[in-house]
């Protein structure tokens, strides 16, 4: 409840629990609800929902969970997904469609098709991946409302 400038973002933080597939998607669902309440652009909502869901699933499969920080601005949504997992050894390879290092038991559940990062890239207007082996991975995505001065 501040009187600061209206461009101050709405910030949401979530903890993504590790290895719990039943809860993957919860954060994405909450962000969707907020964006709809705001009357946000439907296309942007869709891309945020997909990008976040894929990111959540990635953290569950590969990194024993992590955190998601979402900042909503009038013209864009910024998402930071941070984990302390094993890191990605070859980021450019991981960006290729169909490339996956997911274990068999995860694939048996229908996940790990190697579409996670490529899908996230497709949905966002800007995506950066910082990964350090043994330390973890941070993914930063920006999803802009298309058609508003962009």
């Amino acid at each position: 409840m501040s009187n600061k400038s209206s461009v101050e973002p709405i910030t949401q933080q979530y903890v993504i629990p590790g290895t719990d597939f039943t809860r993957a998607g919860e954060a994405s669902s909450k962000v969707k609800t907020i964006l709809k309440r705001l009357g946000y652009d439907p296309d942007a909502i869709r891309r945020v929902a997909i990008a976040m869901y894929e990111g959540e699933i990635n953290m569950v499969i590969h990194a024993h969970g992590g955190t998601a920080k979402v900042e909503i601005f009038p013209d864009r949504v910024e998402i930071a997904l941070c984990d302390q997992g094993p890191g990605i050894s070859d980021v450019s390879k991981a960006m290729e469609e169909g490339y996956s290092t997911a274990p068999d038991e995860v694939r048996a559940l229908g996940f790990g098709a190697g579409m996670g990062l490529p899908n996230m890239k497709k949905c966002s207007d800007d995506m950066r991946v910082h990964s350090i082996i043994g330390k973890g991975t941070d993914v930063y995505m920006t999803i802009r409302v298309r058609g508003t001065g962009n």
């Binding site: 709809k36 309440r37 439907p42 929902a49």
Partner: protein, 443 residues
């Protein structure tokens, strides 16, 4: 804008409890001044509140049987769900019973359902629609998508429901046969649910409904039971097959498409789970999605008499004596008359403000208020959750922070008034326990 709703409140019966507010899928109910209030533009007429209200204070408004008398020629449009209400092996007993009730003609909605199936098969073969296609047969689901899923509106099958198609065909046939004007012929749907009633008064995808009125299955049941004569051979009136009557059950419409890549979900909570996944594009492998608000499909409608599972079993048994399908597009009705006059349009009724920056300001206020509230979602304030109360306060819909009992108690104690006597109490009410103890003492 005025909204018609079949689902209404019976004020005298409402005790202002929290059952309905907690179950409403669009958070469309609040308790104010001790009575439930329905927020009109959010209600989708699914009937969940009718199902859950222990005091029967929620009801569906349907038309009185006497409405038939306003028309010279009366046509009954029985939903296939009606067939599951009776323990019979021949649908003709039911249809002949309807004639004995005073209808001049019966047109089975299952007949039109076979045409809608045929039409859908055709346009899906031609790949004219974006997939997965969402069925538009359940009006509560169409309205749910309309108010909650902006990005899914374009996937909803832009076709009239079998009920509307049946009424259209029945009316045209009757006009030709009798020479009567359209207004002199009354088409009455025999409905399993309130959502259909709403869809008659304010239809989606068309300007004027072909159906004139709706009688609830529950209301017609005893009258029809009395008129059904099982000692006589009934008139051979039934003109539909397995495909048509199967629409009463969840999965019936899907299986009529003769495709493998479909999903059929029923029960509003399950439906919402599917729509959420669909929104995240997690169901890409499917090409058709059938969603029914009621458990089991239309057989689970709140205006039915029989247990939905029993009704389903009876319909299964009836099918044994039926052909696959008796109605096909080419010999009956022009395809374009079955189309909606446009795509489903999103209605942003959950939107905080039409201005994004204003909405963001409100959202920040809501977030801040939510921090203060106890996060118990008890419903005692009249809103379904603490978050909903925060929204109600910020959107100025008459709610106050001290509608929350816990906030009220804090306010009172700061004024030196104690509403709770337990010294260790920090945010919980012990009064129920204490009064029980008191009761024992006095015995």
């Amino acid at each position: 804008m005025q909204y018609f709703h079949s689902v209404r409140l019976d004020e005298d019966k409402c005790l202002g409890c929290t059952n309905c507010i907690k179950r409403c899928p669009t958070q469309a109910i609040r308790v104010r001044d001790g009575k439930a209030r329905i927020i009109s533009n959010r209600c989708i007429d699914c009937g969940e509140c009718i199902r859950v209200c222990p005091h029967h204070a929620k009801r569906a408004v349907t038309d009185p049987l006497s409405m038939m008398q306003n028309f010279k020629y009366k046509i009954a449009l029985p939903a296939p769900t009606l067939y599951g209400q009776f323990n019979l092996l021949d649908v003709d007993y039911i249809l002949t019973g309807l004639i004995a009730m005073g209808f001049d003609r019966v047109f089975e909605v299952s007949q039109a359902a076979e045409l809608v199936s045929d039409h859908t098969r055709q346009i899906m073969r031609e790949k004219k629609l974006k997939t997965p296609v969402i069925s538009s047969a359940c009006p509560a689901i169409v309205r749910l998508v309309k108010v909650r899923y902006p990005d899914l509106c374009e996937l909803v099958l832009p076709h009239l429901s079998p009920m509307q198609v049946a009424a259209h065909m029945a009316k045209e046939e009757a006009m030709k046969e009798t020479g009567l004007a359209k207004e002199e012929i009354g088409c009455f749907f025999i409905t399993p649910c309130p959502a259909k009633v709403t869809d008659i008064v304010s239809p989606i995808g068309m300007s004027q409904s072909w159906v004139d009125g709706a009688f609830s299955i529950a209301e017609i049941y005893p009258v029809l039971l009395e008129k059904m004569d099982r000692t006589q051979t009934p008139q051979p009136l039934s003109k539909s097959g397995i495909i048509g009557v199967s629409w009463a059950n969840s999965g019936g419409e899907s299986s009529s498409l003769i495709r493998e890549q479909y999903l059929a979900a029923d029960g509003i909570e399950n439906v919402i789970a599917v729509l959420e996944q669909l929104e995240d594009e997690r169901l890409g492998e499917l090409d058709f999605i059938e969603l029914n608000a009621c458990p089991g499909g239309c057989v689970g409608g709140v205006l039915t008499v029989e247990n939905p599972y029993v009704a389903k079993a009876r319909i299964q048994r009836l099918r044994k004596y039926m052909p696959v399908s008796l109605n096909h597009m080419n010999d009956s009705i022009p395809a374009e008359t079955m189309d909606w006059d446009g795509e489903l349009e999103y209605a942003g009724v959950m939107q905080l403000s039409p201005n994004l920056e204003e909405a963001m300001r409100m959202m920040r206020e809501i977030d801040a208020l939510e921090e203060i509230l106890p996060a118990l979602d008890c419903g005692s304030c009249g809103a379904p959750s603490c978050r909903a109360l925060a929204e109600d306060i910020v959107t100025g819909s008459g709610a106050r922070l001290n509608d929350c009992l816990f906030i009220l108690r804090k306010e009172a104690s700061s004024l030196g008034v104690s509403l709770s006597e337990h010294p260790a109490d920090k945010g919980r009410i012990y009064s129920a326990e204490e009064s029980q103890d008191d009761g024992k003492d006095s015995e």
